[in-house]
Amino acid sequence: MALSKEQIAMRIAKEIQNNSYVNLGIGIPTLVANYIPENINVVLQSENGLLGMGPFPFDGEEDADLINAGKQTITTLPGSVIFDSATSFGMIRAQKVDLTILGAMEVSENGDIANWKIPGKMVKGMGGAMDLVASAKNIIVAMQQVNKHGESKLLSSCTLPLTGVKCIKKIVTELGVYEIKDGAFHCVERAPGISVEEIKNATDGQLIISDDVPEMTF
């Protein structure tokens, strides 16, 4: 069965290394924080200017001056540090952040990503996404593989305006886990109960998948 958003987040959480700095985008990526194993040291970076993002505050303890990049009220943790936005994007550009997890509308087989603009619709802006994808050492995309019209969002080339080029290395969708290399989506895991056929049907770009691709475990 196709994964729920929570399960996509859960699967991505397994990718997070101990002692790493991670930037989580809005949407499914934000959910990843809920599934980071307790024995793993992870420091969350919020690009508005915080390292060491903690959980939401208790009701009544919100601080209007303390928000994350999604403008949600949050908390700090022991060892947290605040900095200005130039420093924040400095550490992003200098690749001090180990992993970036973000959502996408489309990803192409060579690792291009589109996630900020749909022509003809109101454009809200790219926020920090272009900076993140242009600089991150390691990016995992969390996304739905198929849109509501049943069309694949893993494409030979993106149709929407790009956010970044040749930058995505791994994708986790409701159907599987894909590594991008040599101009193809390499399916390395399938969601429990999802068939190779279903994955083929849901992938528009070049797909490499073996008949015995393992089912993912949680």
């Binding site: 919020s46 690009e47 508005n48 200017g49 915080l50 959980p55 939401f56 505050p57 208790f58 009701d59 009544g60 303890e61 919100e62 601080d63 209007a64 001056d65 303390l66 928000i67 994350n68 999604g70 403008k71 949600q72 009220t73 949050i74 700090t76 605040i82 900095f83 200005d84 936005s85 130039a86 924040s88 994007f89 400095g90 992003i92 550009r93 291009d112 109101m122 454009v123 809200k124 802006g125 790219m126 926020g127 920090g128 996404a129 272009m130 900076d131 242009a134 600089s135 305006p161 790009l162 956010t163 970044g164 080029v165 040749k166």
Partner: protein, 233 residues
């Protein structure tokens, strides 16, 4: 020390005129110069070009200037959460230039550091790169992006002293320090204004040399855009 205090927000905003380019600190509604924005509404200056990460919400922040159609052009990285903004944009009343958030921050920083331009990889291969110079360093492409040129920068700090030194609180810091450095004239509004000498010289975020006018804001609403909480079990 040089006394940078002005007696109120009116005096602080003196000289801001129609058609000027103004930087405004803040991220979402966090750390925005509430009192100066209210004064810009009252002054009713028009045709402003505003450089700010966001454009406020319908009835707060820069949304207040949008309501009165005082903004001609918005330079920002993210402008959601604002119906009036969308209406003006779609009707062609408002011009918008969207730029990556890190590029926005760094173009402010460049101005403050006297650097005419910087290189960033953000936007390479996208429509942001259109018409821009691309340069390869060590096998990676970068865009040449220019320092911002603004008439006024308006920032909000937590504490400030009469010499113009500023301290920010928590993530309300965001774009404020870079914009404070970048303004031809920098206006700082603070929650608490103290005499020079009360702040620890080691703990000041923005040196007073960058600040031309400082005043204590009358009140701060500090509206929260996304109130997210957990419940005590």
């Amino acid at each position: 020390m040089i006394d940078k205090t002005v007696k109120n927000v009116q005096e602080a905003c003196d000289g801001i005129q129609d058609g000027m380019t103004i930087m405004l600190g803040g991220f979402g509604l966090c750390g925005i110069p509430e009192n100066a924005i209210a004064e810009l509404v009252r002054k009713n200056v028009k045709n402003l070009t505003c450089i700010s990460n966001n454009a406020g919400v319908d009835d707060f922040g820069l949304g207040l200037l949008l309501q009165k159609k005082q903004i001609k052009k918005m330079i920002a990285s993210y402008v959601g959460e604002n119906a009036e903004f969308e209406r003006q944009l779609l009707s062609g009343e408002l011009e918008v230039e969207l730029i990556p958030q890190g590029t926005l921050a760094t173009r402010c920083m460049a101005a403050g550091y006297g650097m005419p331009a910087i290189f960033t990889p953000a936007g390479v291969g996208t429509e942001v790169a259109e018409g821009k110079e691309i340069r390869n360093f060590n096998g990676k492409d970068y865009l040449l992006e220019y320092a911002f040129d603004s008439d006024f920068a308006i920032v909000k700090a937590w504490k400030g002293d009469t010499a113009g030194n500023l301290i920010f609180r928590s993530t309300a810091r965001n774009f404020n320090p870079m914009m404070a450095m970048a303004g031809k004239i920098t206006i700082a509004e603070v929650e608490e204004l103290v005499p020079a000498g009360e702040l620890d010289p080691d703990q000041i975020h923005t040196p007073g040399i960058f600040v031309h006018r400082i005043f204590q804001g009358e009140k701060y609403e500090k509206r929260i855009e996304q109130r997210t909480v957990r419940t005590k079990n």
